[in-house]
Symmetry: C2
Subunit: 445 residues, 2 copies
Amino acid sequence: MKKSRSSKTKTARARVAKKSGGADRKLKIGLIGFGTVGRSVAKILAQDSSGPLLLTHIFNRSIKKKKIGSLSSHIRWTENIDDVLSSDVDVVVELIGGLEPAGEWVRKALRAGKSVVTANKLLISEQGPELLDLARKMGKRLEFGASVAGGIPAIIGIQEGLAGDRLYKIAGILNGTCNFILTKMEKDGTSFDAALKEAQSLGYAEANPSADVDGMDARAKLLILIQAGLRLRVRSEQIPCRSISSVAAVDFMYAAGLDCTIRQISVAQKQTNKGVRLAAAVQPALIPSASLMAHAQGSQNIVTATGEFGGKMIFSGYGAGGDPTAVAVISDLYAIVRSSGAPVEALPGAAEVPDSVSGDFTVPHYLRFVVRDRPGIVASIAAILSKYEISLDALLQKPGFPHSALPFVMTLEACDSAVLDRALAEIARLDFHVEPPLCLPIFLD
Amino acid sequence: MKKSRSSKTKTARARVAKKSGGADRKLKIGLIGFGTVGRSVAKILAQDSSGPLLLTHIFNRSIKKKKIGSLSSHIRWTENIDDVLSSDVDVVVELIGGLEPAGEWVRKALRAGKSVVTANKLLISEQGPELLDLARKMGKRLEFGASVAGGIPAIIGIQEGLAGDRLYKIAGILNGTCNFILTKMEKDGTSFDAALKEAQSLGYAEANPSADVDGMDARAKLLILIQAGLRLRVRSEQIPCRSISSVAAVDFMYAAGLDCTIRQISVAQKQTNKGVRLAAAVQPALIPSASLMAHAQGSQNIVTATGEFGGKMIFSGYGAGGDPTAVAVISDLYAIVRSSGAPVEALPGAAEVPDSVSGDFTVPHYLRFVVRDRPGIVASIAAILSKYEISLDALLQKPGFPHSALPFVMTLEACDSAVLDRALAEIARLDFHVEPPLCLPIFLD
């Protein structure tokens, strides 16, 4: 006998709802924020009305404009946050972003005995450990799977799936806007400004793109991954960010000649031989064209986690957008259902403060100069590098550029980026530069 | 003031152990099986003796040979399984593999009120849902993160991290032995037999390699992923396996000409438009050389999960070996610590039986023939294909082979593999074949 899928599913779900206590005991959800992700969350929940999740409240400013007819008429819409916080919802889903008032509302919700699911990377990167402590104290859950890499289950994969390893390195492409811009520049040979404009017209980049292109957005996500995977507590200002805005079309030409491409790479590496040291940075970098990182196209994200026992693990997929991020939010809601709302015990070593934090990596580097050409330029640069005991690897110069603004590239053997910065400060004072030298690390693995 | 890492870590962990109830309340662990994975588990636990996990019992046949001096002298070694099952351990870690006696012992452990962590893919693929029901009935946990893809957190990633999506496709490279053999053949141009021998001499393949090369090992893992991700219950005999042993060195030459390579691909695709249908198979297949799957080198594994809302997610890493698999086992133990041993609620739709299961996919195909050359061969094959309304895409023939055993290749436009099988049965009856035709699907995404 064939049964339709929906009838079977409904029966199974009704059974589960019953088992979880009471005939109609569902997890009641209050949604704070009704933007792209909020709308996707509401849509997916509405499509699965027989499941254990029930959306009962939506808070949003100017709800008249946003109210959607296809959602259940039982949902209470409000412009007053206290209507949600003082209601009988079991879980508050916070999707307004930013530090305040989101932080205050999350704390209020936890103190009111509600679990919280949030996609707020800034809040979790700055206050995650304190908020988790508060949630545990209240016997409630705080879940933030959507705060990093949207739909990619990176946090649960790293924090729980790899809990048995000793992770020492986290790296990834964590900002879809930068990845869109850089893959666009790579494919079409366009300038940064043109690629940014296209990203803005498609809605991938904000009118003020600084948080994306200058690295702060990715840094907040990296901070969360450092907490979850390396179990270290650092402050955002300890991690340097370099903008992708100084990468030019010509850099992709030179990178291709080195079988590389350029991406915004976030990386954090823990060393424990002399105290606990963390090296972490967000910056444009050269990576091999054949690498997995280079496979992340357009707005895709990728996260790698390397451990002492398990080696390198890779998580990849769509890191942004309403639906993928909503998947992460709803997966967090299911996690609360599966555990019947019980709080999660802290694992050991969850918030160790490292002895030192720097943005320095000992790796090969790519230097691109644009100069008013004349004899002796390479010699004077090489002399300074030599003084700092930095070895030149290769010198690259493509034909077809004017002598008045001639780009050329040097690659350097592995050297400490702090030492190189000092050499570059000296090189930058030479008088032949048409624009400041660009220095990118080359990450080969 | 600088503190050493170990002192800080110990303090933090002692605090957690205390919070979990009682000054010395640790999760007591009994290990069943002391092979490669068991030894890695014991080694990693011994390195972290201040943590919340305490190994107290090890069961193994002929313990005298295996007993390791570096492990704590407090561990009780035994050759009698009842010593473990009747002990005060909280969790039994089952690492002996196979259906029996492992299944009986797991049931006994659950009935004795112990949680169970297992790496046993065969047991979970055959009896997973029943064992999970038993664990829930007893208020205990059954975790099996190590049963699929070793150290890659694929099960938790799919089952929990993507719980909010509606997954409809799971695919992957799930057998490291096959991947080692096929990447070896690809790189060195060696025969299947030579690559298998090397895999055996390196310990990657068993003396009897059938479970690996004929696909049954990967099928057991695919079954578990189908349960966890597609929430379908199927029997192993419903999923066809095709051996990689008929792939020859020449196939890699032809595949390269198509910008492809050959891997053992496990794939399961759910359709819900006319009842619930599942298409699933384990077989060698052509995949694009530039694809992520082709990136999995040697014994690496890769798992992809595609959902209605989140698109395609990728999990990749080391799928086998003692240490990576031990990471998965220990991560499962931490999951039990984090939840204080509380059982996990079943999610809805966890064991739906599909209305139909087949191994048929409508995709392009690669056909390789080895024939005694004579005029009219292509015409007679093409005539049969045409009768079944299958369209030829390309005909490839490399020079340099003898007329008495001439290999050539046809690629076909997308067609149903069941229809193609009927056409091939007819083609195989023609009298010019030196060996049976090889048919491989081409998976382009």
